[in-house]
Symmetry: C2
Subunit: 120 residues, 2 copies
C-alpha cells in the first residue's frame, strides 16, 4: 500500500532490455524496462503482454506489419504471436504480463534473456 | 494488436467513476476512469487493484492513513483492504485488475456501482 513514482523508478534503471518489477497483483506483474536497439524475435506461448510507452517511442514488429507506439500509446500482444520490439532512441516502457513471463518468451538468448522477479 | 492512445481514450469519457475497458489480457483488464469527488468505502474480497494516475492527483484513503498519488505515481491496494478514492479536481486514472472486479467491491451503490466490461 505504498506508492511509487514511475519517473523515480525509471531513474533507477541503468541497463536496457532487463525488466524490473515495480508492482505485483493477481499473479501479474508491472515491469519497467528501458529499450534501445532491436530485441530478438520471440513469442509467449501462454501469456498476453501489454506495452505502454511512458517516454519516447517504440516499435512492435510482427511478421506482417509494424506498430509504432508514441508516448502514452499502448498495445497488447496476444499469446502465441511472434513479435520483436525495437527503438531508434532509448524509450521507457511499462509491461503488464503474468509474473512468470520470460522476456524472450520461447527463446533463450545469452544477451537478451533477463532474470525474472528483479524488483526495484 | 492494434494500438491505442491514453489521451484519445480519456477524451472519450464524459462521466466520473465509471471505468471503461481499454485492454484485456490474461484475465485482467486495464480500465480508464475519470475521478471527481469521493467514492464509497469498499474492499475487493479476491482482487488486488492497481491505480496509476495519468493526469491530476488522487487520494486513496485507508482506515488508518491516506496515500496521495500525483501524475505518474501508482499504488496497489491488496485484496481485502478497505479503501476509498477521492479527488479535489478531476483526475484521469488507469486501473489494472481482474476482468470481473466490480468497482464498488463488496458493496452495491445506486450512484457509484458501474457495469463491468464497458469497452471504449
Amino acid at each position: 500500500m505504498n506508492k511509487a513514482s514511475l519517473n523515480e523508478k525509471f531513474a533507477m534503471i541503468h541497463e536496457h532490455w532487463r525488466p524490473k518489477v515495480v508492482a505485483q497483483l493477481n499473479g501479474q506483474e508491472v515491469k519497467l524496462v528501458k529499450l534501445a536497439g532491436i530485441f530478438p524475435w520471440h513469442h509467449h506461448e501462454q501469456d498476453d503482454e501489454m506495452f505502454l510507452v511512458w517516454r519516447g517511442q517504440m516499435t512492435i514488429e510482427f511478421r506482417d506489419r509494424r506498430v509504432i507506439l508514441q508516448t502514452g500509446e499502448f498495445c497488447v500482444v496476444p499469446r502465441g504471436i511472434e513479435h520483436r520490439t525495437m527503438t531508434d532512441a532509448e524509450a521507457e516502457v511499462l509491461v503488464f504480463e503474468p509474473a512468470e513471463t520470460r522476456n524472450t518468451g520461447n527463446i533463450v538468448d545469452t544477451r537478451f534473456t533477463a532474470p525474472n522477479g528483479v524488483a526495484i
